[in-house]
């Protein structure tokens, strides 16, 4: 029995309030950011180790310090993005607002939603989260992609935005 899911009560309601992302999503965002940076930095790091035959100890330390700095920075950005993301479902549209310095507010009118996708990575599955992808007829590939929602919230959004009779193949 996974107690982490029952800790948080999903929103499940159409209202005018802005809702934050799931609390458990914070750690997920930060893990993902850290792992991504570490994986990316493996490439230049191995190149450096292989190429530098006569490197001094402090050069190695410098590279490691750089990688640590990058990881810390990425984790901080992930935390900030988790903190500053809110969403809202009201009678007209689904809204998502992101960021403070670079602010973006997306509005997907309910009457324009064509279909919805879920994506759940291994960490998301463990913590009961999901990434919601909303498609409209607009020119971008997808109108909205938002991670860090509780699975129950994501499913509720799908039920509300794409009623069962419009869905095909489910």
């Amino acid at each position: 029995m996974n107690t982490e899911i029952t800790k948080e009560i999903p929103a499940l309601v159409v209202s005018d309030e802005w809702k934050p992302l799931a609390a458990s999503a914070r750690n997920v965002f930060m893990y993902v950011a850290a792992i991504t940076i570490l994986l990316i930095s493996l490439v230049p790091a191995t190149v450096f180790v292989l190429a530098a035959d006569d490197a001094v100890w402090w050069e190695y330390a410098g590279v490691i310090a750089l990688i640590c700095l990058a990881t810390g920075f990425a984790t901080l950005i992930a935390y900030k993005s988790w903190r500053n993301t809110y969403w809202k479902l009201d009678a007209e549209a689904l809204y998502v607002r992101r960021g403070k310095t670079w602010f973006k507010q997306i509005c997907v009118p309910r009457s324009r939603v064509q279909h919805l996708d879920f994506e759940r990575g291994p960490l998301e599955r463990k913590y009961g989260l999901a990434t919601l992808i909303v498609h409209t007829a607009g020119s971008q590939e997808r109108a909205l992609r938002q991670s860090g929602l509780l699975l129950a919230d994501a499913e509720y959004l799908r039920d509300v935005l794409v009623p069962k009779d419009r869905r095909d193949g489910e």
Binding site: E92, K104, T136
Partner: protein, 512 residues
């Protein structure tokens, strides 16, 4: 079921096409031609540089195999017209049967290149809404068959529209005659060529290809041209000034040549351009050697882009492009002409046409509103900072003369001022519009009901001025086009506008 009386005119056509049809007997030739075209340039270069007999043999074998395959493709392609759908059977190894309901077909395009004109055949493409690949692509049909098919689909679509849409059946639709809305005269086509300067692009591409495939040969050619020119001018003992003049003269000569070439290209594409309307469907037809003809239902138009460049202003003309949801068919040969709905027209005629397309009195817009008061500062700040940074970097690392780059700053200031004087937006009952530009002017607008999504963006610089930009998402926009957005609005106004638009959108149902 479709109204039999309405189909009385095309009853003949229906009877004629009801059996299973093959494509035109010469189809294999045209498929082969298309395949060859992709290999033509490398083949020619290969033949000229003559790398050896083995390669020539391979290419000949390749051509033979392609020929056999295209014959098979022709033999296995069959189609049949039913009451309300088209059945297509195709495939050499993997057979496929497709049922395409007429209601799904949004665009019928008939094209002919020179070779096809000679044999009186045409390619027919049937496109559905929102898809980028055509539902059916017939290469080739006899011209009569193609016209019959087009007429059949059009009459079916018109009937379906009438019987399914209550509002429409009570209105007065002119179904009788094709009404010609706009035609381009020869002077207009020449003007188009001078304005769009496509010759430059074609020559640039050709030069690029030549350099890629025959690099050292091109290098030797360039060197010999240079030596010839400078040797000649050197022998005249004219000195630096004359050489500079010579270069300028050569450049001007080249520019004139490119313009003439552009005019020729425009003639090829736009000669005999005619835009007509039948009921709620627009048809565009143009082309000198290759005839291209496409149709588009009015309600498929998603967004409009009206443009007036510097040369446009000299000629007192404007040009209109539209985004349509009937698929962005970027195929090997030609782009859909429905993007260039009205390539050139004088401003009054253009406004009349737009009002007609929109079927409302909302255009031309009278209630333009200004952007943020400090919009010019925001438009000036970023480029000015960039320019300063580049100047400083260049002066330190290259030469102190780079200081002269700072002369761009007053130009940027002028640009920002003129730009923000002209920049405005408008939100009327049915339309959302934005206009921009300093040397060229551009108007982008769309029916609010056609919007698919909104997003409000505020960057660091925007925050400093208290501004935000509102991005509008529509269907069918070109991926490379500039975004449809209202820039530099006061934040509060942007929020209000977003809420307003969202409310309006939710009142209008899905356009498709």
């Amino acid at each position: 079921m479709a109204n039999e009386t309405e189909l009385a005119d095309t009853a003949e056509a229906v009877a004629a096409v009801e059996k299973l049809q093959r494509l035109h007997p010469l189809s294999w030739l045209f498929v082969l031609v298309v395949q060859l075209r992709q290999f033509a340039l490398p083949l020619i270069i290969l033949l000229f540089t003559g790398r050896g007999d083995r390669y020539e043999l391979f290419s000949l074998v390749g051509v033979l195999l392609l020929g056999i395959y295209s014959v098979f493709q022709y033999i296995t392609y069959r189609y049949r017209v039913m009451d309300d759908e088209l059945i297509v059977r195709s495939g050499v190894f993997q057979k496929s049967v497709r049922h395409i309901p007429f209601g799904k077909i949004q665009n019928v395009s008939i094209t002919q290149n020179i070779l096809q004109r000679l044999f009186n055949v045409a390619e027919v493409k049937l496109e559905a809404a929102g898809g980028s690949k055509p539902e059916a692509h017939m290469r080739v049909l006899g011209m009569r068959d193609a016209r019959q098919l087009e007429e059949l689909i059009r009459s079916h679509a018109a009937v379906i529209q009438i019987t399914s849409d209550e509002k429409v059946s009570s209105a007065n639709i002119p179904v009788s005659d094709n009404e010609i809305l706009h035609q381009l005269s020869l002077p207009d086509v020449v003007k188009i060529g001078l304005i769009n300067n496509r010759g430059m692009i074609v020559i640039g591409a050709a030069v690029g290809v030549m350099f890629q495939s025959a690099g050292d040969m091109m290098g030797k050619l360039m060197k010999s041209i240079f030596n010839m020119f400078f040797g000649w001018s050197g022998s005249l003992h004219l000195g630096t000034v004359a050489m500079v003049l010579g270069i300028i003269f050569l450049a001007l000569f080249f520019l004139v040549l490119v313009r003439i070439f552009s005019v020729l290209l425009a003639l090829l594409q736009y000669y005999g351009f005619s835009l007509s309307q039948l009921g709620r469907r627009l048809t565009v037809q143009s082309g000198l050697l290759s005839l291209v003809r496409s149709s588009l239902p009015l309600r498929r138009i998603q967004a409009y882009s009206l443009f007036e460049g510097w040369l446009h202003r000299r000629f007192a003309r404007r040009s209109l492009k539209v985004d349509s949801a009937a698929g962005m068919a970027m195929n090997e040969e030609n782009k859909s002409p429905l993007r260039d709905l009205v390539p050139l027209a004088d401003p009054a005629k253009m406004d009349e046409l737009i009002a007609r397309f929109l079927a409302s009195d909302q255009w031309p817009i009278r209630s333009w509103q200004n952007l943020h008061d400090d919009a010019w500062k925001r438009e000036f700040l970023l480029p000015a900072l960039l320019c300063t940074a580049i100047t400083i970097a260049a002066s330190i690392f290259y030469t102190y003369y780079a200081i002269v780059l700072l002369a761009a700053i007053p130009v940027l200031y002028l640009r920002a001022k003129v730009w923000s004087a002209h920049a405005a937006f408008a939100c009327t009952e049915e339309l959302i519009a934005v206009r921009e530009g300093w040397i060229s002017r551009e108007w982008r607008f769309a029916e609010i009901g056609k919007l698919q999504g909104l997003s409000l963006r505020e960057g660091i610089l925007d925050r400093r001025f208290g501004m935000a930009s509102l991005y509008l998402d529509t269907a069918g926009a070109r991926p490379m086009a500039s975004a449809f957005r209202i820039p530099y609005l006061p934040r509060a106004q942007a929020d209000k506008l977003m809420a307003q638009l969202s409310a309006k959108i939710s009142k209008s149902p899905l356009p498709f």
